[in-house]
């Protein structure tokens, strides 16, 4: 019985205990459910928070990115700023033409007073007129002369043309020396020029005074073409022939013919010039250049003037800086007037020794060997010079001239002129290289 009782009680107790355990478990479960709910709530809250935070960080990221961008922009602006400063909007500096400024002056000693000198003429070629004083553009005065400030501009003005303008500024005048267009793209080795320019016939006519070897013009050019030479409005066409090693160039010019020493009948354009130039190397160091030209125009009498020109240049390089140059030009003029046909001729020949980069010396002989029957034909001139260039763009020249070609109109006296000249030429700015 007791056994049964014990078992029963045990059973009951276990049942009882089982019941209480169940209840405990239920309670636990309830608790845990509450906790999970709480946890879930927190999770949701946290998630909400995170979402907000991520939004914030996103915003922050965006902000950082933007500021970075802004910094970059600022930086590039900083980098670009110097160029922006150098070339402002619509700045046109890079299209400025090449500009060169050349100054030329001299001091002169001469055995003829200034007032007498201004009345000179070359018998048979020019006359003296007291009412129209002659223009002597260079080194006119005894004492100091400021000859000119030359302003030269060069620019490309499109695919087809280059433009050049050369002005001479003096204390009381502004002269257009040259102003012309040159073609850039003509085929068949052709080149055309239009405007006012120095004719390219012969050797010295196209060159400006500061690039001459002597400070004065050759006598034959002064006698037949005046102090300006042929510098006229018109057109020019030049053609380089397709040769192998010998240079051959043919040129043709049609000009107004304003030069009234030989031409000047400008009722219409009257002057036509043709020339042929050829150059070849005799040895590696010796080069010859030959030229022949014809000038045909109408003079102030209304009749024709023909000038035939020939030129001959030989240059030998002794070393890189030293050379010998022999250059000669001859002009023969046939000028018809109302009464007769005037045949006159003259030449110059000059010899230049370039000793080194700094020093050069030269002599020139000028002669008008053929004149009118009634006029003297012993008109000649001797010139010697010594040149010193301390730097490529600075030139001093000492020149002595003995001139037997002048008659002074003021007292109608033929007198030989002696002249000592010390000249200076300064080149500033863009440097145009010198041709042969």
């Amino acid at each position: 019985m007791t056994k049964k009782l014990i078992i029963l009680s045990l059973c009951a107790s276990t049942m009882l205990s089982a019941q209480s355990e169940l209840e405990e478990l239920k309670a636990l479960l309830a608790q845990q459910m509450k906790m999970t709910q709480a946890l879930q709530k927190r999770v949701v809250q946290l998630e909400k928070k995170q979402a907000i935070q991520s939004k914030i960080t996103k915003r922050q990221d965006n902000k950082i990115r933007e500021t970075k961008k802004q910094i970059a922009v600022v930086q590039t602006q900083k980098e670009e700023q110097p160029t922006v400063q150098a070339a402002a909007t619509f700045d046109q500096k890079s299209f400025l033409p090449d500009i060169a400024l050349i100054l030329n002056g001299s001091t002169v000693a001469r055995n003829v007073p200034n007032s007498t000198y201004a009345s000179y003429y070359i018998p048979g070629f020019s006359t003296y007129n007291a009412n129209t004083p002659m223009v002597i553009p260079f080194n006119k005065e005894r004492g100091f002369n400021f000859n000119y400030a030359e302003l030269a501009l060069h620019s490309t003005v499109g695919p087809w043309f280059d433009a050049d303008a050369i002005f001479h500024l003096r204390s009381n005048s502004f002269d257009i020396e040259e102003a012309y267009l040159t073609t850039r793209a003509l085929p068949y080795a052709l080149k055309a020029k239009l405007g006012q320019f120095r004719s390219n016939f012969g050797r010295i006519n196209a060159k400006h005074q500061h690039s001459w070897h002597f400070s004065s013009q050759p006598l034959v050019f002064e006698a037949m073409l005046g102090s300006e030479g042929i510098n006229d409005a018109g057109v020019q066409l030049q053609w380089v022939l397709p040769t192998e090693d010998t240079y051959v160039m043919a040129g043709f010019e049609a000009l107004q013919g304003i030069n009234d020493v030989s031409f000047g009948d400008t009722e219409t354009n009257n002057l036509y010039i043709g020339y042929l130039k050829s150059s070849f190397d005799i040895t590696d160091d010796t080069t010859a250049l030959l030229g022949a030209s014809i000038l045909h125009g109408k003079n102030l009498y209304g009749f024709s003037t023909d000038i035939y020109g020939a030129d001959f240049t030989v240059k030998t390089a002794l070393d890189g800086y030293s050379s010998l140059l022999w250059q000669s030009e001859l002009l023969y003029r046939n000028k018809k007037t109302t009464t007769d046909t005037q045949k006159q001729a003259g030449f110059y020949t000059q010899f230049i020794y370039q000793y080194d980069q700094n020093w050069a010396a030269g002599i020139r002989y000028d002669d008008l060997y053929k004149n009118l029957d009634t006029q003297p034909n012993n008109l000649d001139k001797y010139t010697a010079m010594l040149e010193y260039k301390p730097f490529e763009f600075t030139k001093f020249r000492l020149q002595y001239t003995y001139d037997k070609s002048k008659v002074f109109g003021i007292n109608n006296e033929r007198k030989n002129t002696s002249e000592i000249l010390l000249g200076v030429t300064i080149e500033a700015g863009a440097h145009g290289a010198h041709a042969f």
Binding site: P187, V240, L241, P242, D281, T287, G432
Partner: protein
């Protein structure tokens, strides 16, 4: 008769073949050599300047004009070296193909990183080059970039021979790299050497091989030596124990010899271009002569 026809035909074919060659003008001999190496049989090369003369002062002989008139390509050193003589020749040649800025004008200095670029420019500093030192041909390492640029240009002008130019460039590059290896080895012994030079003609070479150029015989570029400057130079050389004077072949050598006599230094005449001294007819022999005279 048939033989006559054949010869005539052959003649026309031959003449068109010679005509088909690309006419190239190079301002200096070293450029002529590079162009010939890349252009090969397709290029007819004419060199304008003589290597015996100062490259700054070439006489613009009219006999040089016809070649420029005919040219399809003009290769210039650039960096201002030809400014005193090439522009008037170009102006007289009437050839729009090789005008500055057109397709047929190649300024080879654009292929080189120029050194000695002046911070400011004034003629008071003498005859300076605003773009930088134009004498980059004295450094053989500059040859390959130039060859590449020339090949590009030849291909652009004559696309039908693209393969030939590419092959020529490849062959030339391989050969040149080998040459550079031996050249560099030979120049090693010169590192740290101090020299003076007449004009800043060898700066690219000297800088490449760690040779220090201390001073110049000319007081300013393009200005002849003065006695004051020469005496200062002698004192400096004695103080710094400089024993090498680099002299170009074309300037007067009197001043260099005078300085040498006062300082026990040696005057070394270095070529500045292919053919400027004897035994420098090829690019290799030109650079080898520099190496031998400077470092051995």
């Amino acid at each position: 008769m048939p033989t006559l026809k054949k010869t005539l035909l052959l003649f026309t074919i031959l003449s068109t073949l010679t005509f088909a060659k690309l006419n190239v003008v190079a301002s200096y001999p070293y450029l002529g050599k590079i162009v010939q190496a890349i252009g090969g049989d397709n290029a007819h090369v004419k060199v304008l300047a003589s290597p015996k003369r100062d490259p700054h002062f070439v006489i613009p002989k009219p006999s040089l004009i016809p070649a420029i008139t005919r040219a399809q390509l003009l290769v210039a050193n650039g960096a201002g070296l030809e400014i005193g003589w090439l522009p008037p020749l170009l102006k007289s040649a009437n050839n729009p193909k090789v005008r500055i800025g057109s397709e047929g004008f190649l300024d080879i200095s654009r292929a080189i990183h120029l050194i000695d670029v002046p911070k400011s420019v004034s003629r008071a500093m003498g005859d300076i080059h605003p773009e930088g030192n134009p004498h980059f041909d004295t450094d053989p390492h500059n040859v390959l970039p130039m060859a590449k640029r020339i090949a590009q240009k030849l291909i652009a002008l004559d696309a039908s021979h693209k393969k030939v130019y590419q092959d020529n460039l490849k062959t030339f590059s391989q050969k040149w790299k080998q040459f550079l290896a031996s050249f560099d080895a030979g120049m090693k012994s010169c590192k740290g050497k101090k020299v003076i030079q007449y004009h800043e003609l060898y700066n690219y070479l000297l800088r490449r091989y760690g040779i220090k150029s201390v001073a110049n015989i000319e007081p300013l570029p393009g200005i002849a030596p003065s006695s004051k400057h020469t005496l200062e130079l002698i004192q400096q050389m004695r103080k710094e124990h400089i024993t090498t004077i680099l002299q170009d072949p074309y300037h007067e050598k009197k001043t260099a010899r005078f300085i040498a006599g006062k300082t026990d230094a040696k005057v070394v005449v270095l070529p500045h271009d292919v053919g400027s001294v004897s035994g420098t007819k090829s690019l290799e022999s030109f650079y080898n002569t520099i190496k031998e005279r400077l470092c051995q």
